[in-house]
């Protein structure tokens, strides 16, 4: 296939709005000389980008499904009919599996990562991935309060910890080390929390600082393609930008990705004095190396908050009075779910909204900061085009600022920011940058050898949001899966796993059989759940 005469933005290959033809053969981008199938897509006047690469979303597994079960009121207002190419489903903030695949593809996204799988429930996460069509996908494995991680950190047994991390990634068919409120999730199992990097975890003589350092070092020494993926301590609390900054700094020189950093960039002492810490966090990012983050941009309207950060969800339940689910997992982790609504006229919500944009706009290198809404925590992923418009147009930001709580103008520097994203910047924070941070060498660019995952848009500067809402074409593995914003093919993507291998020691097996309630032999996720997999080498 040839994509002809399109205006191509491929920042990873330094192509910035040039007319370049793209040649596709057997699902890959190839040199013109290798082309056999001469089918053409006439793309004159259209913008051609690599397929979107989502670095952090919640789309599959136990907490997502508890949210679906808990929120029938959410689904009723957003129904999806079956078509010859499409299964039916429902939204709104917690869409069904098939609908998730279609909506990402309609928007031009072709790779998505479930950012938090409890190891004991990993089989569930993978089972749901089997019902998410079109996109490539995979899971990050929760480790920040794992019993063995805490035990080996306490005992100073780094090599054992590293071996365990490798085994757990293998057993769960996970791709990255996910850390949520390190130590705090274990303390929550006794109704407690931690609030500084040097607090001691309940019943373990370890601190969040030690857990983070050990896991960051293990991820680097195992040469995992993605760094540790960190949801910091104190998420959601006024004044938490300090612990975020400290976490970024103290983890140097290890690679680290700080996720949904908006929720961790708050200044002020309490809800009354709540103010933005976004510019401070951006300054920290600007001067630090080996660090990336995604923002978790607030979208006004309904959201469903869901995270392994159980204690925070209990706080949010008390703040909001909404229904609350909690789900603690033996030896490993936990989760909490609370429906939430972000309101323009709520001063805290409005400042939260401004912070994500501040971080996106004040961080100079777009390869360090990525667009997410921490779906569905700060809002549904299919509202990304709203944010794209705000990033590319100062005028739109000013219009929006007039509609939100007026205190934002005093407590955020957003009104003074002049920067407007170029299409190339946008392609970095949604594609090239995320793919690079994830170590996915065949994604996020359009060079020879890349996967033929491509999105093509009818771009109109006056209607940026509309331009990106529905792709003119989404091509996945060389197949046209979306045309004019509608799914036109029944296609299944691959699940990404690592080639890590490790065994448990006899001692670990004994601990396992004593304190888990499943047999160790029944714990690892079987190959049956990976009918289409892509194995990535760690080196």
């Amino acid at each position: 296939m040839i994509i002809k005469n399109g205006t191509v933005y491929d920042p990873a290959n330094n192509i910035n709005g040039e007319k370049v033809d793209i040649f596709i053969e057997k699902g890959k981008i190839v040199d013109e000389s290798e082309l056999r199938d001469k089918k053409e897509i006439e793309a004159s006047g259209l913008v051609v980008l690599p397929g979107g690469v989502e670095i952090h979303t919640h789309i599959a597994g136990s907490k997502v499904n508890i949210a679906r079960i808990m929120r029938p009121e959410d689904h009723r207002k957003d129904v999806v009919r079956k078509t010859p190419y499409q299964r039916s489903g429902t939204g709104y903030t917690v869409p069904t599996t098939f609908t998730i695949g279609y909506r990402y593809a309609e928007m031009g996204y072709t790779t998505v990562w479930e950012a938090a799988a409890p190891p004991l429930g990993a089989r569930h996460s993978h089972e749901e991935l089997l019902d998410i069509p079109i996109v490539d996908k995979g899971i990050f494995t929760l480790m920040g309060s794992n019993y063995f991680v805490l035990k080996y950190t306490e005992e100073g047994e780094f090599e054992k910890l590293k071996n365990f991390v490798a085994w757990l990634l293998h057993a769960t068919k996970g791709y990255a080390v996910k850390i949520v409120n390190p130590g705090g999730v274990e303390s929550w199992k006794w109704g407690k929390n931690v609030s500084s990097l040097d607090d001691t975890v309940q019943n373990f003589n370890v601190t969040p600082r030690e857990i983070l350092k050990n896991l960051a070092r293990a991820a680097d020494e195992l040469h995992l393609p993605h760094s540790i993926h960190v949801h910091c301590n104190n998420l959601g609390s006024p004044g938490n930008y300090a612990i975020t900054r400290e976490t970024i700094e103290m983890l140097s020189p290890y690679r680290r990705h700080i996720t949904h950093i908006q929720f961790n960039s708050y200044a002020g002492e309490d809800w009354g004095t709540f103010t933005s810490g976004g510019s401070d966090i951006a300054a920290t990012l600007n001067k630090s190396k080996n660090v990336t983050c995604d923002v978790g941009q607030v979208i006004f309207g309904d959201a469903t908050t869901m995270t392994a950060d159980g204690p925070w969800q209990h706080t949010l339940f008390k703040l909001s009075g909404n229904k609350w689910a909690n789900s603690d997992v033996e030896m490993e982790t936990g989760a909490g779910i609370v429906p939430y609504r972000f309101k323009k006229k709520n001063v805290v919500n409005a400042i939260q909204w401004s912070i994500g944009l501040e971080v996106l706009l004040l961080t100079e290198d777009p390869y360090k900061v990525f667009l997410t809404t921490d779906h569905p925590n700060a809002g549904p992923f299919y509202h990304y085009p709203q944010v794209m418009e705000l990033l590319m147009s100062r005028k739109k930001r000013e219009e929006m600022l007039e509609t939100v709580h007026p205190l934002v103008k005093e407590r955020s520097v957003l009104p003074s920011i002049e920067r407007e994203y170029s299409l190339s910047d946008l392609a970095v924070v949604t594609r090239a940058g995320t793919a690079r941070a994830l170590g996915m060498t065949a994604k996020g660019h359009l060079g020879v050898g890349a996967d033929a995952d491509i999105s093509i848009y009818r771009f109109d500067e006056e209607q940026i949001q509309k331009s990106f809402q529905k792709a003119a074409y989404t091509i996945k593995d060389g197949v046209i899966v979306v045309k004019d914003g509608t799914v036109v093919a029944d296609h299944m993507g691959k699940t990404y796993v690592l080639d890590v291998k490790a065994d448990l020691s006899e001692e670990e097996r004994q601990i396992f059989s004593k304190y888990y309630t499943v047999q160790v032999s029944n714990y690892p996720v079987e190959e049956a759940y990976l009918p289409q997999k892509e194995v990535v080498t760690c080196r």
Partner: protein, 414 residues
Amino acid sequence: MIHEDVVCPFCGCLCDDIAVTTEDNMITDVKNGCAISKSKFMNHHLNLLESALVDNMKVSLDEAVGRAVEILTNADNPLIYGLSSTECEAQRHAIHLAELLGATIDQTASVCHGPTILGTQDAGCVKCTLGEVKNRADLIIYWGCNPAEAHIRHFRRYSVFPEGLFRKSKKEREVVVVDVRNTASARIATTFLQIAPGTDFETISLMRAYLKGKGDALPDEFKNLVERMKRCEFGIMFFGLGLTMSRGKHLNVDAALRLVRDLNEYTKFSITPMRGHYNVAGAGSTMAWITGYPFAVNFSMGYPVSNPGEFSAVDVLARKECDAALIIASDPVANFPAESWKHLADIPTIVMDPKVSLTSRIAKVSIPVATAGIEAEGTAYRMDGIPLRLKKVVDTTRLSDAAVLSRMIEKVRA
């Protein structure tokens, strides 16, 4: 040959340490399982549906599947029901089939823990996996359930007796049983509290009021219980059909969910339903991730709509709204109210089951299938939501539920 660590396909405990011995493709011994588990494995080959049947005449599998598809595609409002005693792959196919047919699909939770789901939709649910109970619980309450007879290894594997990380034996735990009668489970308890039938809602609501300083009318023994609930380090309440299927139904569960939720102001407290069939949790799970709703779903609009009472199987049947039915791994004639199951006998009913059942006796089409977890692999979800891989320990020529349903889907789409 000995198959180790086999998952038991009987109850929601989903014990995964069963050792099954087979000789010449026959199960000859079962170790570690409870009496029910042993019986399920040892007797899986008895009382089988010997052949595919249409109108009680033996036919080939293809013919039976063809006839089933003809009935389902010609129906205006078909019903698919069952699902909780088969693997998730079959459930996923059944939902797909329902979508293609524009059918109503419901699973057995609607006559079991459906009210638990409704309660959760109202109040949320503070739960934990069973290993958390084993490792941490110092106060265990069983309310309206009788695990000694229904979930036989629950005490031993998950709650009262096992050694956990922070609790070394039963001595470090307090066990309370609340029920309308003195059950076998009550004998294990350190405290048994008997309540009058139909008073669960008022008792629990008063407990919650007392927790908030207002429950003067609460009997002293329950005031004492609330105090202990506040004081414990890690509490858990397990509940069964005594709450969900007695007067008040989801209101009872709602009250219990809110009580436990509010206890988390004082300590750590969780609540977990004692799910019955081994994969009823999976049925709710698969339906939720594909349709958004865990039970009572209708596809006639081309998209899923859920409304328990409207699209729950008992009600659809009692109102004679469906004109054909596909029953998968369930026996509604044995346990539905007469006005509901009688309609199944009046319409063309298709049954997929390994065994002869009361429902297969009234069915127009019977399709014998492999027994999931014994003759077929697949996924099942434990009562606390933990997914495990069912194993195949003996071979069979019969197709799994998933394989039969996938053939039906092919034919419907053709």
